[in-house]
Amino acid sequence: MQPETARFKELSRAALANDQLQRSMVATGPQFVLKRAKARAALPEFDDLRNAARDIKNHVLAHLDVYLEKFEARVQAAGGHVHWAETAEEARAIILNICAAKKARLITKGKSMVSEEVGLNEALEGAGHTPVETDLGEYLIQIRNERPSHIIAPAVHLRREQIEADFRRVHTDLDPARDLSHIPALVEEARRVLRQNYLDADVGITGANFLVAGTGSAIIVTNEGNGDLTRLMPETHIVITSIEKIVPTLEDASTLLRVLARSATGQDISTYTTLMTGPRRAADPDGPEEFHIVLLDNGRSQVLGTEFQDMLRCIRCGACLNHCPVYQAVGGHAYGWVYPGPIGSVVTPALIGIENAANLPNASTFCGRCEDVCPVRIPLPRLLRHWREREFEQHLTPRTVRSGLGAWAFLAKRPKLYGLAMRLAARFLNWRGRAGRIASLPLARGWTRTRDLPAAQGKTFTELWRERQK
């Protein structure tokens, strides 16, 4: 999928002017925050569990080679196949090969961000297969030919009226006079339409939330049950996932499950948590006859051992999106690629290169809420700052910003001159203000075009401090 990250500012402006999107964000954003807060309040150990979750992921990352080998051996012992993909292209090729060997026509899919990352649906369609997304949110964006706008709620940007119009446009074999004026009717229609797809599918593809090294199990969590029907009904099940999803034991998975759903949707646990280990056994009457796991790297191993390593702890709960003032203002599509929000702004440069994602680390006010709510305590503002450093080092920052920073650095290294400049500036900003506000200011039109700048009071902090010391 072609990243549009370079268009962040343009897409953000369009998002801010999009009434429908703004209504969706205002209606749903606070709900996520409230649900997580309630779940946290109901479990006194929640913040300590986050420490435990962080420690588990750190332990895994420090022993990742061995855990990956252990996981692989367990999957193979259970009768499954493990495929390694260094790049998105390799992952697509592996899956296309399997689907071609199975002569697959219809392919059902459970929700998978890694599948979005490698652009799997386009590849499947290009090879003549018909992929059908079965998670309701993913199905909605598939029929609209859109990208997910949120990691766990891909259609959070849509309103009911839009979905009704889409269903009438796509489900043309149904009665045009049917009532779709309320949300349960839309869900019921999706259930009926998708049910037949589960039964007809030749291959099912899901992602994985965790991979348990000690047992060779891939874990998926869903509320709908779509992931399970995607695994159980077709003859072949493929899991596409990435190398950092490993956890050592079922005990460790338990700890992560306790923080995942609470952080994501405020549930104690998702409705369906499924541990999938190999294909059906000889005596089993159901389940897939063939089971494949595709382990994608796509730049992740290069993050190990760098100042960015902490991002690999991410369990994709979406809490940082829900608590981010920037994400809540512009929505997920403005970020221009697969992973939006604070974690997206950290992960995207690692996966597609900072030269292709230079806008994203700047899409933050550094308010720190993302780090406050992260279930594995990823220091997101720090990682964003590291990317800004890289951006500066590689001369990706705009010339005006660089010369501004240069001027400031010149002054900052000369304390007396700096003091003088600040005193002059404070007086100028005081003189310029009317009723404590400045409506327009040279060199700061980017700010004053849409809002006032508070006027300075006339003296600098250092001056006031000196006066108080007397």
């Binding site: 061995v66 959070v156 949300i183 005990e251 369906y272 190999g278």
Partner: protein, 223 residues
């Protein structure tokens, strides 16, 4: 070099310590099956576990009833199906506990066996265990309790012996290792905490999405 070799070599080149030390640490960690911090909420006697499980399961739209003996399950099943207005046809797997129930006490009930059929309205499974801390039942796939029974019907009923209702997930895993062998798993293990739902449209919770409309757990006090 294959992708596997390339990826593993790159990871190794970036990790601290020696590979031998990492192998030792991993073996130790996997063998210990160590529990991390376990929340207190599920810990307590049978009454506590039962009341917490019931509160959480009903809180997410599931239903729970208790019966005294395994034999009482038959009446409970038939009554619940009738109350739900579903046809008197019930699908279950080959599980011997369920097979040995006095089904003759529900003469109007047609028993079907094997994996679920898309036309099935009602299915019955025996849970491997239940977990109080999140109101969760665990089911193991296989001929005894085929996994499709958990997802295709309108109504999924689950029999849970009270002796298998434990406090927390960490209490289940030793039982699982005892039943399957260390490191071994059934093809599919389902942890189910309520009926199917979605909140994908405007964050409004709607039941069901793709799975069962109703999940009914019958806890057998004397089993």
């Amino acid at each position: 070099m294959s992708a596997r070799e390339t990826i593993l070599a790159r990871i190794r080149s970036r990790l601290p310590g020696t590979e031998a030390a990492r192998r030792d640490a991993v073996e130790l960690h996997l063998a210990a099956h160590g529990a991390n911090l376990v929340p207190l909420r599920g810990l307590g006697d049978g009454d506590h576990r039962l009341s917490l499980f019931t509160r959480l399961m009903t809180g997410v739209g599931g239903s729970v009833e208790t019966v005294e003996t395994l034999a009482d399950v038959v009446q409970a099943v038939a009554a619940h199906m009738a109350a739900a207005g579903l046809p008197p046809s019930l699908r279950k797997g080959a599980d011997t506990t369920l097979a040995h129930l006095p089904w003759h006490r529900a003469p109007g009930l047609t028993l079907l066996s094997g994996p679920a059929d898309p036309a099935d309205h009602t299915t019955l499974s025996l849970a491997f265990a239940g977990v109080a801390e999140s109101g969760t039942v665990l089911l193991l796939s296989g001929p005894d309790n085929p996994a499709t029974l958990n997802f295709l019907p309108e109504l999924h009923m689950v029999v849970l012996p009270a002796s298998r209702l434990v406090s927390c997930y960490e209490d289940v895993w030793p039982l699982l290792r005892a039943s399957q062998g260390d490191g071994l798993m059934p093809s599919t293990l389902n942890m189910i905490s309520g009926p199917s739902r979605t909140a994908d449209i405007e964050q409004t919770i709607v039941r069901p999405a793709h799975g069962p409309r109703d999940l009914h757990v019958i806890i057998v006090v004397g089993a």
